[in-house]
């Protein structure tokens, strides 16, 4: 008798590869592959899928970024390319996630800056990139066209598609060979519906990453945790419309009251704790990419992931 986990899963999470090397038409120095689980992600020796990865988030308009990070960064925050280069070199995240926050200012019209910023960041780092564009239907078409074009061949992961506005993003992904983040508001049925909509307009499942929306620790995180578990559960039970890898980012982590009101001497530690205690649990719930904004979170998060997924993992590793 050997007691082990009792699993009767039949489904499998699909795999998604982000980034393209020179040989494949891109300029990335590495690519990453996520997904492939045939059980809960941390189960098995080795586990069945690829290990969870860490994306470091930055932006092109730091006035819309959490103060604990911009203070920590100093002048670097004014140049996304330098921000990306420095973070990649010093903290070794697996991916860089660039938010084009400038497009979210009222009256934004400097579309040429989208192209320049994406090109500069692509030049500054060899890591695979996630690019977050506008969130205004009036701007989406032009912003996503420019993101797609500037990154043509790089196999970017671009976001964020929602049920009410996904066409411009999907169109750009299909035209320029990119991947799409599909976000739904903490609801398994809406997540499934959006994946079906995307499939129906021609975006295959292996180019979608699910973002179930993640509330910050203490601010709805439990809903996100459970919806991720449910989405993963559905995929392992065989629902192919939910069998994509997931990305989780508790984007409000560094603006919650606990962090805002912390004593300045403890601000870095509480920032790290609030990101770590949401993102490491997200990996257990099934997220394949977890995102942080404070550089100091990367090291303890990496240590936690390494402890949960002893390297090298199965399915070919990261």
């Amino acid at each position: 008798m050997t007691l082990s986990t009792l699993s009767d899963w039949t489904g499998e999470v699909g795999t998604v590869t982000i980034g393209a090397l020179k040989a494949d038409g891109g300029t990335r120095s590495t690519t990453v592959t996520i997904g492939g689980e045939r059980d809960l992600s941390f189960i098995g020796s080795p586990p069945t899928g690829h290990r969870p990865l860490i994306a470091f988030e930055l932006c092109d308009d730091p006035s819309l970024w959490p103060a604990p990070v911009t203070k920590f960064l100093g002048d670097r925050a004014s140049d996304p390319a330098e921000w990306a280069r420095w973070a990649g070199q010093e903290y070794a995240p697996d991916l860089i996630r660039l938010f084009l926050t400038s497009t979210r200012r009222r009256g934004f019209s400097d579309f040429a800056s989208v192209t320049t910023t994406v090109e500069n960041v692509l030049q500054a780092t060899g890591l695979p990139l996630i690019i977050e564009g506008s969130n205004d239907p009036e701007l989406d078409s032009e912003v996503f066209r420019r993101i797609g074009e500037a990154g043509e061949g790089e196999r970017l992961l671009i976001g964020t598609a929602e049920a009410a506005r996904y066409r411009s993003i999907a169109a750009s992904a299909m035209a320029y060979g990119h991947l799409v983040i599909a976000q739904s508001p903490i609801d398994i049925n809406l997540a499934k519906q959006l994946n079906i909509l995307l499939r129906e307009i021609g975006l295959p499942h292996d180019r979608i990453v699910i973002d179930p929306y993640t509330g910050a620790l203490g601010y709805g995180f439990e809903y996100s945790y459970s919806v991720m578990e449910r989405i993963r559960y559905a995929a392992l039970k065989g629902d192919e419309d939910l069998a994509m890898p997931m990305i989780s980012s508790a984007i409000d982590s560094l603006t919650v009251k606990e962090v805002r009101e912390a004593d300045p001497s403890g601000i870095e530690k509480i920032s790290v704790a609030w990101e770590l205690y949401a993102m490491l649990p997200a990996t257990i719930a099934g997220a394949s990419i977890v995102c942080v904004r404070h550089p100091s979170t990367i090291l303890p998060l990496r240590a936690g992931i390494d402890a949960f997924w002893p390297a090298p993992s199965g399915g070919g590793g990261a």
């Binding site: 601010y219 205690y277 240590a303 402890a307």
Partner: protein
Amino acid sequence: MALKALDIYKLLPKKNCKECGEPTCLTFAMKLASGKVKPEDCPYLDEKAREILGASTRPPVQRVKVGVGERSFAIGEEIVQFRHEKTFFHEPGIMTAVSDRMDADTIQAIVADVRDHLLVRIGLDLRLNGIAIRSESGAPAAFAAAVEAVEAVADLPEVLLAEDPAVQEAGLAVCGNYRPLIHAATRDQYREMCALAVKYGCPLAIRAPTLDALADLSGLCTAAGAGHLVLDLTSPSLHETLNSAVAVRQHAITRTTPALGYPVFIDTRPSGLPDAALICGVLKFGSILVTDAISDESRKAFLVLRQNIYTDPQKPIQITPGIYRVGSPGPDAPVLLTVNFSLTYFTLQGYLEASGVDSFMLIVDTEGLSVLTSVAAGKLSETLVRDALKEFGVPDLVDHRKLIIPGYAAPLSGKIEDETGWKVLVGPRDAADIAEFLEKEWP
């Protein structure tokens, strides 16, 4: 396998005598099925039915109580693997470790901190639970002295970490009457440890190199009279701990291996990563988590994560309806309407505080539903808003008659205006945009 309520009902006397405290036998059957009452609560149950029900309604993860008095706590009685399937019932107890190599002052400072630390969140008190005393010197006298030092400061639940039965007994001689958890019986000394557990009436943690060996040891210990067991799944590899914790929960709730139907113990020290080990323990079925002292920040995040994970997914935490102040609002301050779902309340409150605009929050009773859901379900209505304005005396608080409503409640704006006579301003859908909205729209 667990019986369904109707199967249980067939075995009951069907007298509806109410002597068990339930209105009908059917209600009793339903509660029995979910483990909320015991077969013994029915005075007219025949012997055979009692036997059948006793075996099949015993919680798949046995209840174990640690400590005595106000801070004592129960663990076990869990019935699901995923919280969305129902809920997790008993939060893990976090036990801060001290060592018998520490001097008494150091020990007492740690114990006092555990005793006094309190984090109040969403109206609930979040606390650390107890003290774990490590035998590191190997000397019975030093261990007893450390236990005495702990006892001198507080009557908190304790874990006695001493595998040498002589050392363990020295500790029990000091605090054995207060239901400490004895840690740990192994294959080599389980007879002595079980005898101690029986003598003092204490729960007993057991440890073995594999799950098979653990199940065997569990059987040996119950046969030796120690019925309140806790399974130590600590490994230097958190991957191993996660995998064995999931296996234990699956074997327990499916009743595949009843010998593993006990709560789980995890010591965070061997992993060298206390934060990751605490996260592993709180998510994947730890019930007793021993940790050396951690930073204030980790402690706060841990307590909030534990609260999040152990919140019943079917009962959203609610805020008492009423008028709440952000800053020191005067008669010209904006009044913002929202629902009494705690998450909505705290999110809006957070962004209002960040905006620096003094304001009133009018919280109405939507039974804990979010804005979107309560509008769809008709729980948020113009009459509810009208009554709340009146009930909470809002017209006396402000000298204007303007009400800001959530963006998702926009379909109600006209009806609210008609019903209340107040001018309605439709606010943003996302609370994050409230500062910008107020700057633009509020004079």
